[in-house]
Every structure is written in C-alpha cells, then in structure tokens.
C-alpha cells in the first residue's frame, strides 16, 4: 500500500472531462485506489464519486493505492495530473 499527496493543476479541477480522464487512467490498474479530500474518502474508480468531491484547481488530494500494480498506478496518475488531464 502506498500513499501520496498530489496537487490538481488543471483549470477546471476534477470536473467532467478531466475527471473522466482521471478515472479512465485509474481503472486501467488492478489496485484499489482511494483518495481523501477535506476529510472525506472517495473511490477514484467511480466517476460519480470523484465528481462529487468537487476538487478544484490548486487543491491537494491524498491518494491511497493498494494492490499488485500500485507503483505503476501511482506513476500513471501523477503523469496524467502533471499533463493537465487533457486541459
């Protein structure tokens, strides 16, 4: 299990299309991926769960990844977020 803090950089935050790209990336992996934001926990593989977190540009989320491909998963998520999630 690994945890890491990540700052969301794209202008609309984890919103519709960027959220879609985020979830798409996460669901490629077998690991369970959760994140905490403002005290609540969310399932990164559920688009609707991610959307309801209303994460904005500049906000920081804490990822918790658990599974056999956890390292690759974290790397992929970091890369997608750095690249602006399509924005």
């Amino acid at each position: 299990m690994i945890t890491e803090k990540l700052q969301i950089k794209n202008a609309s935050g984890l919103h519709m299309r960027p959220a879609g790209i985020f979830v798409k990336e996460v669901t490629k992996f077998k690991s369970e991926v959760l994140f905490t934001f403002k005290g609540s926990e969310y399932n990164a593989k559920s688009m609707i769960n991610v959307l309801s977190a209303a994460v904005k540009c500049g906000d920081e989320i804490e990822l918790t990844i658990n599974g056999e491909d956890e390292n690759d998963c974290l790397a992929a998520i970091k890369s997608a977020v750095e690249n602006g999630l399509g924005e």
């Binding site: 202008a11 519709m16 299309r17 959220a19 879609g20 399932n43 540009c57």
Partner: protein, 565 residues
C-alpha cells in the same frame, strides 16, 4: 405568415420542416419485481444505451464526443450500477423505481452542491436517467440521426445527449424555448455552423410545418408566404455564397496592395473562444478579456487557475501574440468576491486599473499568473482604462516588483514582456504622445472611447442613437493616437468593435494602425479588405479630408468613399 422574435444564438438562415422533440417521462412507480429478472433488464438497458452513445460518438465532432464519453463513463460507474442493483435486491422492486431512486439522490446532491459546474452536470445525470428509463420502458429515445434531411429541431431545450448527436447534414436549424448563447446547444450549433435561436415561443408549432429560422437577425417565421420563402431562400444563398467566397482568403497574408502588413487578431473572452479564434484563422489574440475568470463565482480565482488558462492560450497560439488585458471590471456589477459594490456612476468609477492599483493583492496574483504563462508563448500585457501617465508608471513598477519576486523563486518568465495600454479614455487619447514614451504598444478601445468622448451611455435608450464611432471627434482622436504611436515607434492597434467594422477598416489602415482585433468570424472579411487596399492612397485621403469633417453624415460619406478607387 407569422414572425416571432427570438434570440439568435448561432448565425445563418435555416429553412425546413419542424421536428418537435417531446420529453416523455416514463413511469417510475414502485412495483414488485424479481431480483434477477430486474437486474437483467437493467443490464440490457445499460448495454443498449452505452452502444447507442458509442455509435453517436463515432460520428460526432470533438466537442460532442467529449460529452458523450463522459456519459459512458457515468453509465459504467461502479457506484451507480451497484447502487441501483442494491435497491432492486433490498426492495424486491422494478428497475425503473430503483434507477429513479438512486439517480434522484445524485442529481439532487450535484444540484445543491453550491458549485456551479457540478450543478450544470446534474443536467447530464438527469439526461442519462431519462434515457435509461425510456429504454427500460421500450420507448426509443429521440434520435437526431433518424430524422428527415433538412429538418428544423424544435424543443423546450435539447438534452445534452441529443445536442451531442446532431449532424449538420440532417438538421438545417434549431429552435428552443429555453437556453441562451452559452448553453450546450448553442455552443454545438455554432461549432457545426447550424443556425439556431432560443427564447422562442414554440408551443403552437406542429410537427411537419414549414419554418424559416433566422439565427442572425433572431426570429422564427411560421407559415411563410411564397414570396417570403423566396426572399429568405435568396438571403440564405447570398449568405452561403459570401461565406464560401471568404474561405478563399483563409491562410493568405494580410497585406495591402503596396506591401503593408496588418495583423488581424481575435478578441476572446471565454476559454472556449481560443479554439474558435484559431479556426477563424486569427493571426493572434488582440484582446483576451480576463473578466470571465472573476465573474459569477463566490471566490477569486487563485494563481494556479489563472495560470492554467493563460498558459493554454499562450500554447495554442505559439509564436503569434496573445495580448492579455488585466482585470477590467467595475461597479456596473456588484462582485462581492472582489469587494465591489454597485456604484452610482460605474463607468466613471472604481474600476479596472484604478481598482487594481488600490487592491494590489488581487492585481499581483493576476500578474504572477500572466508572467508565469509568458514562458510558454508570446504573451503581452495590456492595462485597461489608463487615464494618465502616473497610472501607467505605477503599473509598470508593480510588474517589475512581481518579476523580481518570480526571479527570486527561480520561476521562468519572459523578462522582456511587452506592456501596453488600452486607449479608451479621452485623456489618454489626447496625451497619447507622452504615454507612447512609456507604453510598449497601444490598443484603441473604441467602444468606451466613443462613449466617454461623446458623453453618451450606450445603454440609455434616450440617447443611444447619439452613440456612433463615425463621429469626426472620435475619428480625429483615433488618428492622433496612431500618429503618436508612429512617432514613438510603437505598435498601434484596435480592439473595439470598430476594428472589425468594414466601414472603418480602410480608415484605420489609412491612419497607420498595424493591428486590428475583432470577433473571429470577421477576420476573413477584414483580410479581403486589407488585400484590396493601398495604404499610401488611404493615408493620403485621410490626411487631406479628416479635418474638414464636421458632422456624422460627412464622416460617414467620407468613410464610405475610402472604398472607391
């Protein structure tokens, strides 16, 4: 024959037979149901809907496909499906009831979130819910791909999924009761070039009746007479011919007959305008209005959010200039987040640079974001509403401070970034020669310059007819500003409406302006005029006649005469 006014949201004229889109709400009452049977029904409906959406997405535009893909993701969301199945198991009920129960909660959660973007997304959720329910009920959801060619879509409003499935080949126009220029429907209509109006009275329109839709003028014509029909058809032909003829100018250089280069740029205000400007063949952005970032929201956009948007524009335009205008907002709107109250005399009040120099914290944040973005393209800073040399010098001093700050942090930015000003106050226009010693460029804001110079409020019905840029006083100021710029060796451009006005373009070229910024879809027309003009000839005529003009009528005749050989 009946003409009713509506709001044009996508220009052009469309003629065709109405296809009225009704919203049928299937029954979602709770009924007994066998778990496995209901779960199977649900599974089939989800699969069918996903397949339908995927089919639409394959022939959709990029804008539409993005929306449809998000819908597919929501449909496949583990929380949603498992949530619905849970209700089916727990209540031993029908899938319709379960779907409505689960989606209802999410829709409400999004709508009441207090977050405008999420609230807008609740519409997408409702759309998915309704489509699922219709499939479960065996009703085929309205398919915009299945109608007769040349149809006119008529509806209260189009759901996201319907709007995303529209094809230009089949639909000649769209008429809605609700929505406006920024709705999904309007944006998609504009991107596909389909004429559209909203705010129309549609309650009596019957399926199959002939309609003429004028998306430019903003009206719907029912039961047109043969004569009117011919008239509109002719108008449409002329419109389409003109557009086609202008296409020939795409990609050509904007240079006069005698070799003077004029930079034709776009005015943009929303992030979505960036792509539209590029598609319009803009050679840069002459005005990037940053106000949209601060409006209709409870808090000020932070540096990251602003940086992200400015960077996007910089990257999209590459080497081509992007002139970002710093915050130009004032007391015509109350903006609590900025501490702006409504003012008695907002246009003469605490706005734009005056506000920014008093609220340096807000100004600094914006400047940091713009400077950081300058590392990614060709960004220039433009200060609005400058009324004197002092304001310009204070702004530049602050910019230098921010540059030192960023340098100390090791952040990349363009150290030689151009800092120019909008000329929109009469004092700036009159004192242009002194301002040209400090500013890196000018961009004339003719809208406000005209209002301030003629002392006319465009929004006041009683005097609005006095507002006109074709006033000799305004023309002289424009000439004066361009002269001052030329003598100081700096660029003089224009970003007010006059920049894209065919009646003004020759005059502006003759004054020596080298950049014209306008709405994207005026660019090709402007290029045609530039390429047919001779700078020297125009300059000569302007210098000989401008001072003899006294009335608006004389000015108008003069402007029009510039087009003669």
């Amino acid at each position: 024959m009946e003409i009713s006014k509506a709001t044009g949201v996508s220009e052009g004229i469309g003629i065709g037979r109405a296809v009225v889109v009704d919203t049928i709400i299937p029954d979602t009452g709770k009924r007994q149901g066998q778990s496995d049977v209901e779960k199977e029904r649900l599974k089939n409906a989800v699969e069918k809907l996903t397949a339908n959406i995927q089919k639409k997405a394959s022939s959709a535009s990029e804008e539409q496909a993005g929306i449809l893909e998000s819908h597919i993701m929501l449909l496949g969301d583990p929380f949603i499906i498992s949530g619905i199945e849970e209700v089916i198991d727990r209540e031993s009920c029908n899938s319709e009831y379960a779907v409505a129960e689960v989606m209802k909660n999410y829709i409400a959660m999004f709508r009441e979130s207090g977050d405008e973007l999420l609230a807008a997304r609740s519409i997408d959720l409702k759309d998915i819910q309704d489509n699922l329910l219709m499939l479960l009920a065996g009703i085929t959801p309205f398919d915009p791909g299945s109608i007769a060619r040349g149809s006119v879509l008529v509806a209260d409003e189009l759901t996201t999924s319907v709007a995303a499935g529209i094809s230009k080949e089949l639909i000649s126009a769209i008429v809605t009761r609700l929505g406006g220029r920024t709705s999904h429907t309007a944006i998609i209509a504009r991107s596909l070039g389909i004429p559209a109006v909203s705010g129309a009275d549609i309650c009596e329109i019957a399926d199959g009746e002939l309609l003429v839709v004028d998306g430019t003028g903003g009206c719907v014509v029912r039961r047109p007479t043969d004569e009117q029909l011919e008239e509109y058809k002719a108008k449409r032909e002329v419109d389409l011919e003109r557009k086609k003829a202008l296409e020939a100018y795409r990609g050509l250089e904007s240079v006069t007959l005698d070799g003077r280069k004029i930079e034709l740029c776009a005015n943009i205000g929303l992030e979505t305008d960036i792509v539209t400007a590029i598609e319009a063949d803009a050679e840069g952005v002459g005005l990037f209005r940053t106000e949209f970032l601060y409006m209709d929201r409870p808090s000020i956009p932070n540096e990251e959010e602003q940086f992200s948007v400015y960077k996007k524009a910089a990257v999209a335009f590459g080497k081509r200039p992007v002139i970002i205008r710093t915050l130009d907002i004032g007391g015509d709107k109350a903006i609590p987040a900025l501490g702006l109250d409504k003012e008695e005399n907002p246009f003469l009040g605490w706005r734009a640079i005056r506000y920014c120099l008093d609220r340096k914290d807000v100004f600094r944040t914006q400047l940091r974001a713009v400077l950081r973005a300058s590392a990614f393209g060709n960004i220039k800073i433009m200060i609005p509403m400058i009324s004197g040399v002092e304001e310009l010098k204070s702004s530049i001093a602050l910019i230098e401070e921010v540059k030192r700050e960023l340098k100390g942090e090791g952040v990349d930015f363009n150290e030689c970034i151009d800092v120019g000003i909008m000329i929109e106050t009469p004092s700036a226009a009159v004192l242009a020669d002194r301002l040209a010693e400090t500013a890196d460029f000018f961009s004339i804001g003719t809208n406000d310059l005209t209002q301030y110079t003629l002392a006319v409020d465009r929004g006041n019905d009683k005097v609005a007819n006095l507002y006109t840029t074709y006033n000799p006083a305004v023309l002289r100021l424009i000439y004066n500003v361009a002269q001052a710029a030329a003598e100081a060796g700096i660029m003089c451009g224009i970003c007010g409406e006059a920049g894209g006005d065919p009646r003004m373009i020759r005059f502006l070229i003759g004054c020596g302006l080298s950049e014209l910024s306008m709405t994207g879809n005026s660019i090709l027309q402007a290029r045609k005029i530039v390429r047919e003009s001779s700078y020297e000839k125009l300059r000569d005529r302007v210098e000989r006649k401008l001072w003899s003009l006294g009335s608006v009528g004389e000015a108008e005749s003069f402007l029009d005469s510039l087009g003669d050989d």
